[in-house]
């Protein structure tokens, strides 16, 4: 949502003023639209504008000033080539110029008639409407996920007889039988043992509850993994690495489609409620992106332009990612204001305390930062190792069994400990909570030795028995979470990372916080304490420690700092804790960076070998374009097309013999002077179309890319003009350009390929994948790990 907004703000509506330099390449729709091939029905619903169809038929316009979209081919992609250009990258420069054309056309037309004016206004307005719709849709989906996940999580323990759709909390909402001591018990809520053996006491009831808990967890996990497997394999995982890559212009067809959306939404609930150590925030990003993509099809403007959808994203990939994360968050917020639960808890983990912190407390905060960094590095390393194992060994062949085994282990270990039994987000909110007098949880079981006649702030108190036992349980929870999360993340079900790593940090923080609190209580005479922590004062807030710890762990895993602090601020709504959060996040980032170079999402991108050009990294090697370009010195010459001497047969031979996705066009083989660049897919489809529709085009027909057809002897078959698919302004560099600049060009302009010339003669070509491979090579990594070279 915010992503689109950024797009609009930055340059969405000012494009009419750009002068065009390239008009005839409009039909690389060929390459891009099929990328969203999941959405056939959408495209069938919206007929292409008449003008476009009219022009498709006449293949002679010379291309200038017109946008020749060969839409009618796209309506029926040839079956069998299903994933022909799946896993491809898109060319930003061409997309941009195409959008400028479209916009200028509308602007010109708007002067002509009122209707066209309305059209132009609606065109401008559609962007905003789209954002609104995306927000609403993703908000309601987030709400759906939220409500259902709560309900299903509680379903593992029992069911509400007052109305099966209520979760535990709402089942007892109006009950008069809730007592002060046992606040979550009410006669309406029946645990499974009550239903089955009609008692809630004793060992047998415990066993029944245990059994039912594990059984439900296994059932949910099984449903989730089989739905993912049968309907939408792309719905698994967190989705953030893929979204990041897709936003940078990579095409994974169907990744943002309808089925993925539905299945991800449904299975996310199942996965979360199965009690596995995973969160729903990461997949929510994916869900919101799916919403955006699907709704884009309702608007002409976005329907036809792949780049427009991704917008500025490549230049600020991370920022946009988090913007869309915020969009999901804001949408969830919107939904909460519609009020499904209405327990006055508008943000996820609302932090109510506003007690000040002391400068000295920065030391434990930094300690938490170090812990977060260590955890982040450990998690990334082990998780990547495990994922690599899954990818390369037999393990990957049994996704269902793997999920079931992990779920069974999690459930069996989780049930005896009440902190692992409850859902992770509940755990976090309890850890963030500052104990009041009225809290009944074990964590708040302090001894009240003082006179509580006045309200207001509570001083530090000595810990009671409950706190000590809670500490033990929390420590066990911490170990379990650390271990099990490593194996959970990356399984073939929707799984996010935010909640588990926040939980790890929050537990560690709470442990340290309670420790500090007790230390300060019993040793008030120490110099570090006596200056600011007097008798009966509330000087240490364990909840704050938990919050800082959560931020540190999240920072260690994802390696973001500023955005992380903002997220934590958004999540918890506490303004005065920016400095502690920042200190912890920075420390954890430094520690984690020292131990491992990249964040979890980048590590997964690299593991899968997606062509993602990291915008942050500097390229600091002294290589030249000619060292990177293809063909290399010993390779055969670059495959080129000539502008007016090749026959259809020649071209078809080249197409069938090579796998390149595009071919440079030169004046002649001798001179090698560059004319332009033509894409393989355009070429195939144009030739096929010409053979079908244009009379007399046979294998010996000459293909020409020039303005006028070349002089030919009589009695030759009619020629085929393909100038309209030729990109006349391919990007070129000379062979002596330093790679530093080339990498920058690729990064900043989002190029897909770049031609290398020497004295105006075509020498070779550099593609994005060449650049990525070269970077990997320079960094002493395995260059073949880059996907689909």
């Amino acid at each position: 949502m915010a992503m689109w907004q950024g797009a609009m703000d930055n340059r969405g509506f000012q494009q009419g003023s750009f002068s065009s330099f390239q008009n005839s390449s409009s039909d690389e729709d060929l390459m891009d639209i099929p990328a969203t091939a999941m959405d056939f029905s959408m495209r069938d619903d919206v007929p292409p504008l008449d003008r476009e169809v009219g022009e498709d038929k006449s293949y002679n316009g010379g291309g200038i000033g017109y946008s020749n979209r060969i839409m009618d081919f796209l309506e029926e992609p040839i079956p069998g080539v299903g994933t022909y250009d799946d896993f491809n990258t898109i060319d930003w420069v061409r997309e941009k110029s195409r959008d400028r054309d479209r916009h200028r056309e509308i602007t010109n037309k708007s002067k002509e008639s009122t209707w066209a004016l309305i059209h132009s206004v609606s065109d401008a307005f559609s962007g905003w409407l789209l954002m609104l719709l995306i927000g609403l849709l993703s908000g309601s989906l987030a709400g759906l996920i939220d409500i259902s996940a709560h309900w299903m999580t509680d379903l593992k323990e029992g069911i509400c007889t007052g109305g099966f759709w209520f979760n535990h909390e709402h089942c007892c909402w109006n009950s008069d039988h809730v007592t002060f001591e046992e606040r979550d018990k009410c006669p309406e809520w029946n645990s499974w043992s009550q239903l089955i053996i009609s008692t809630d006491e004793g060992a047998f009831a415990y066993i029944v509850n245990y059994f039912m808990y594990v059984l439900w967890a296994l059932l949910f996990a099984f449903l989730a993994v089989s739905l993912v497997k049968v309907f939408a394999p792309y719905a698994c995982g967190s989705g953030i690495p893929e979204i990041k890559t897709i936003l940078s212009g990579f095409i994974i067809r169907g990744y943002l489609g309808k089925w993925t959306l539905v299945i991800k939404t449904i299975t996310l609930v199942l996965a979360v409620s199965s009690g596995l150590s995973l969160g729903k925030e990461g997949p929510l990003v994916h869900v919101a992106c799916c919403c955006g993509n699907i709704l884009c099809h309702c608007f002409n403007k976005y329907r036809k332009n792949e780049a427009k959808r991704r917008e500025v994203s490549y230049y600020f990939p991370l920022k946009t990612l988090w913007r869309s994360f915020f969009a999901a968050l804001v949408a969830a917020f919107t939904l909460r204001s519609i009020n499904p639960f209405g327990n006055s808890r508008l943000v996820l983990f609302y932090v109510e305390f506003h007690t000040p912190w002391h400068l000295f407390e920065l030391v434990p905060f930094i300690l938490l930062g170090i812990f977060g960094g260590l955890w982040g590095a450990l998690f990334i390393r082990t998780n990547i190792a495990w994922c690599r194992k899954r990818k390369t060994t037999q393990l990957g062949k049994y996704p269902v069994i793997e999920v079931l085994v992990v779920t069974a282990i999690t459930a069996i270990l989780a049930f005896p400990n009440e902190y692992t039994r409850m859902s992770t987000s509940e755990l976090i909110s309890e850890l963030f909570n500052d104990c009041g007098l009225l809290d009944s949880s074990k964590l708040c079981d302090y001894e009240n030795r003082f006179n509580t006649s006045k309200g207001g702030e509570l001083p530090d108190r000595p810990a009671g028995v409950g706190v000590y036992s809670a500490m033990w349980q929390l420590a066990l929870t911490l170990i379990l979470k650390i271990v099990i999360t490593i194996f959970t993340f990356g399984m073939k079900i929707p799984s996010g990372l935010f909640i588990p790593s926040m939980a790890v940090g929050a537990i560690a923080g709470r442990l340290l916080g309670v420790g500090m609190e007790q230390l300060a209580y019993y040793h008030q005479e120490w110099t570090i304490f006596n200056s600011w922590c007097s008798q009966g004062a509330d000087c240490i807030t364990p909840g704050l420690y938990a919050m800082v710890g959560a931020a540190a762990c999240l920072g260690g895993v994802t390696r973001m700092t500023v955005s992380l602090v903002v997220i934590m601020f958004e999540l918890t709504g506490g303004l005065e804790y920016i400095v502690p959060l920042m200190a912890a996040a920075m420390t954890s980032k430094w520690v984690a960076d020292a131990l491992g170079r990249e964040g979890i999402y980048d590590a997964h991108i690299r593991l899968n070998g997606y062509p993602f050009l990291e915008a942050k990294e500097e390229f600091a090697h002294k290589t030249l374009a000619m060292d990177v370009m293809k063909p290399r010195r010993n390779d055969p010459l670059l495959t080129v097309l000539t502008q007016d001497s090749m026959t259809v047969e020649d071209v078809e031979t080249i197409i069938s013999e090579t796998t390149y996705s595009g071919f440079p066009v030169v004046v002649s083989r001798e001179s090698q002077r560059l004319v332009g660049f033509v894409l393989r897919r355009d070429l195939i489809i144009s030739i096929e179309n010409a053979r079908k529709k244009q009379d007399g085009v046979v294998s010996t027909s000459i293909i020409y890319f020039t303005e006028h057809s070349p002089p030919l002897p009589p009695y030759t078959p009619p020629t085929l003009k393909l100038r309209n698919i030729l990109d006349l302004s391919p990007f070129t560099v000379t062979d002596l350009t330093p790679m530093e600049i080339v990498v920058d060009i690729f990064r900043k302009l989002g190029l897909r390929q770049c031609l290398v010339t020497h004295n105006g003669r075509l020498l070779g070509i550099i593609t994005k994948k060449d650049v990525l491979k070269h970077i990997a090579q320079m960094a002493n990594q395995d260059p073949d790990s880059i996907l689909f070279n």
Partner: protein, 265 residues
């Protein structure tokens, strides 16, 4: 004269009347509590004058209260909060019924009162409007008497909460029905369809089907059906064609995720 005597009931009346949750002077006390001259002067009759007395001290739920006010018109001095509140409430003849029914389940005022002296801790729940959500309205019967009421109520934490049980119900039902449909479809695709296909196509395609089922991959015969449905350009077949195309894509996705491990590993 309702103000005579020193009973707890009088105190309660008076406290109720003097209750000002939003009054600025009491903002520092968080929820606030009954305060001011009224408590002090409650012994003397007539010390708490004002036109609003009988209604403000009315223990009836707010809903009916507002109804009555609405019928009587505005001849009563109202604080800004009350005025705003009344604006939100439905008025008129049909209002009372709707009000009572809507608020029945989805509004509560929950007061958690910690142990105090000999009284054990207790949780009170009541359907009551937001303005009346305070200890004095909700805690019934009041376990302590006289001057202790103030001290007791100070410790209680009252929270007004709203929910929408209809939203919850609808959401859960929608979710379950989608899940059920998907499961049915999944069962159909994985179990029923191969059997049907085998029965329909008979022996001529038995070998083909055997291969498909041997794969243990649902939709494995999508290519086949796709080719067939394409050859007959029937309108009715369009749906099937779309379905087959989708199956092909899913199959492709499955291959890349589960077999080749190129994405999302």
């Amino acid at each position: 004269q309702p103000w005579g005597g020193q009973s707890a009931a009088v105190n309660k009346h008076c406290l109720t009347r003097a209750w000002r949750p939003n009054s600025p002077s009491l903002g520092v006390l968080g929820g606030g509590y009954c305060w001011g001259s009224c408590v002090a002067n409650s012994t003397s009759p007539g010390a708490c004058p004002g036109p609003a007395q009988p209604r403000r001290c009315d223990p009836l739920p707010s809903c009916r209260l507002d109804q009555r006010e609405a019928h009587r018109g505005l001849h009563r001095e109202a604080t800004p909060t009350r005025a705003a509140h009344r604006l939100r409430k439905p008025t008129g003849s049909g209002g009372q019924e709707a009000c009572g029914r809507q608020n029945f389940e989805d509004v509560r005022c929950k007061c958690i009162c910690p142990p105090y002296k000999e009284n054990s801790g207790h949780i009170y729940n009541k359907n009551i409007s937001q303005k009346d959500c305070d200890c004095l309205h909700v805690v019934e019967p009041m376990p302590v008497r006289g001057p202790d009421v103030e001290a007791y109520c100070l410790r209680c934490e009252c929270k007004y909460e709203e929910r929408s049980s209809v939203t919850i119900k609808v959401t859960i039902i929608i979710y379950l029905s989608i899940l059920g449909l998907l499961l049915l479809y999944m069962v159909y695709l994985t179990l029923v369809e191969p059997i049907l296909k085998r029965r329909l196509f008979g022996h001529s395609q038995l070998i083909q089907s055997d291969d498909d089922i041997g794969d243990h991959q649902p939709f494995a015969n999508a290519h086949d059906v796709l080719a067939r449905s394409r050859s007959r350009a029937n309108v009715l077949n369009k749906v099937e064609y779309a379905q087959q195309r989708w199956k092909l894509q899913v199959q492709e996705q499955r291959k890349s995720v589960f077999d080749r491990h190129v994405v999302l590993s």
